[in-house]
């Protein structure tokens, strides 16, 4: 098994790790970097719990080989708030956008990517985009309301942090 020295930024902090070829991005984030906000759910790219941003692009960390992120910028849920919560995080709290919280890091990351690409998404755009982020508690209404509210509140964290 080959090993690889990777250099990347995680939530603005430069990281260097050495991994074997079979490691996945989710392993690097949680185990090598100790950033356990990102959850492993289905492990087959379906449920959205491990949603992260790589260079601002929404991906499933459970499907991305770690060697793919050398030199890249990664954003996880820990990287959203700077001092205070983003309008989206605040809206998730106020609108009841979560219950048990397992899917919430992925929901927040997916919705952050949506708002960065479509600052004022309509009902259909929200549902189409968020369709792949599963939640067993909320029934999705609170999540959708939170995203609508955050978009009305004037957008998200600055694009350079994505």
């Amino acid at each position: 098994m080959s090993t690889h020295r990777l250099s990347f930024t995680l939530n603005g902090t430069k990281r260097e790790v050495e991994v074997t070829a079979d490691r996945l991005l989710i392993d690097v984030i949680r185990e090598e970097c100790g950033a356990t906000g990102t959850k492993l759910g289905c492990a087959v790219g379906v449920c959205g719990a491990c949603s992260v941003l790589v260079e601002g692009e929404l991906l499933s960390a459970c499907l991305v080989p770690a060697v793919f992120v050398d030199g890249r910028r990664i954003t996880t849920v820990e990287g959203l708030a700077e001092g205070e919560l983003t309008p989206l995080q605040d809206a998730f709290i106020r609108e009841g956008g979560f219950q048990c919280g397992i899917c919430t890091p992925g929901q927040l990351i997916a919705a952050t990517a949506l708002l960065s690409e479509q600052p004022r998404p309509d009902h259909d755009a929200i549902r189409t985009w968020m369709m792949g982020n599963l939640c067993r508690c909320t029934g999705y209404y609170g999540i959708e309301r939170a995203i609508q509210k955050a978009s009305g509140a004037g957008g998200q964290s600055p694009p350079n942090r994505l």
Binding site: S2, A21, V44, V46, G48, S60, L63, P65, M131, G132
Partner: protein, 282 residues
């Protein structure tokens, strides 16, 4: 599950690695399929060759004759958002936009999709209906493979071990041609289709059907051209669609699975082929 990972910087270097490691090597493009197959033990390569650093494979561009060339490492989402691709055919970009979720589309590539040869995937029927050619390179040279000759069975292509898909070439679309891609999703929007239908059709000036290509997904071991339906439509008026559609049930080979019984899929193939043809003959 132990392998060495290689990341060539050029196509030439990638082809050298393929020649060196032979059938012990496996290419990885976006990784959505390969990562799972390796983890499940269905693939046990000694060497995994990543194509992501070969920038030339990502380019999407119109060809001189008005067609479209999609680099094999272009992601589904890059096609979905490409103005060149949309200008060429909105049905094509819609087909790519309908794949799974945005996360998968950000990662999965056009070439990886074709090499994976899962008969339930969305792009292959649409690319076949548009009469695509697949550009294939090896250290022995380059060849142009008609897309209908690529997939030969479930998850099996006609590619040799030393070959890499470099691009998909789509010919210019003739004036007046219409294209559509429909899929029947009785469960969730990110599921594989129970049946999918891609169709292109062009009327002659006398109102008869000059040319049509109809390709179904998820109802056989590969995408299936509905050649009998096509034959029953060519040279015929619009009114021939109703009878021709019934022929599709004889051309497909569906299996019973979670997305429906074989008998149900045969019936749904007829219904959805009818809907696709209604769209392109409207």
């Amino acid at each position: 599950m132990t392998f060495d990972y290689h990341e060539p910087r050029s196509l030439t270097e990638a082809l050298e690695l393929l020649d060196r490691y032979g059938d012990d090597a496996h290419l990885i493009a976006g990784g959505t399929a390969t990562v799972l197959l390796i983890r499940q033990g269905l693939l046990r390569p000694g060497h995994v060759i990543g194509l992501r650093a070969i920038e030339e494979l990502r380019v999407i561009t119109r060809t001189a004759d008005g067609g479209l060339r999609i680099g094999a490492m272009a992601t589904h989402r890059a096609v979905e958002r490409s103005s060149e691709a949309r200008l060429y055919s909105p049905a094509l970009t819609d087909a790519f936009a309908s794949v799974a979720t945005v996360r998968i589309r950000n990662q999965a590539t056009v070439g990886g999709n074709l090499a994976h040869a899962d008969p339930a995937q969305d792009p292959p029927p649409m690319l076949s209906a548009l009469n695509a050619t697949v550009s294939v390179r090896s250290s022995r040279g380059e060849r142009a493979l008609p897309i209908d000759e690529l997939a030969v069975d479930h998850f099996t292509t006609s590619l040799a071990h030393d070959e890499i898909i470099t691009a998909v070439i789509l010919p210019p679309i003739e004036a007046g041609s219409r294209e559509t891609y429909l899929k029947f999703l009785p469960k969730t929007a990110d599921d594989y289709a129970t049946v999918s239908v891609a169709a292109t059709l062009r009327f002659a000036s006398d109102g008869t059907i000059a040319e049509t290509r109809i390709v179904l997904g998820a109802v056989g071991a590969t995408p299936i051209r509905a050649r009998r339906v096509e034959g029953a439509l060519r040279g015929q008026p619009r009114s021939s669609v109703r009878d021709a559609v019934a022929l599709v049930s004889e051309e497909i080979d569906p299996i019973d699975d979670l997305r429906g019984s074989a008998a149900y899929k045969r019936e749904m193939a007829r219904v959805w082929t009818g809907r696709a043809l209604a769209q392109v003959t409207r």
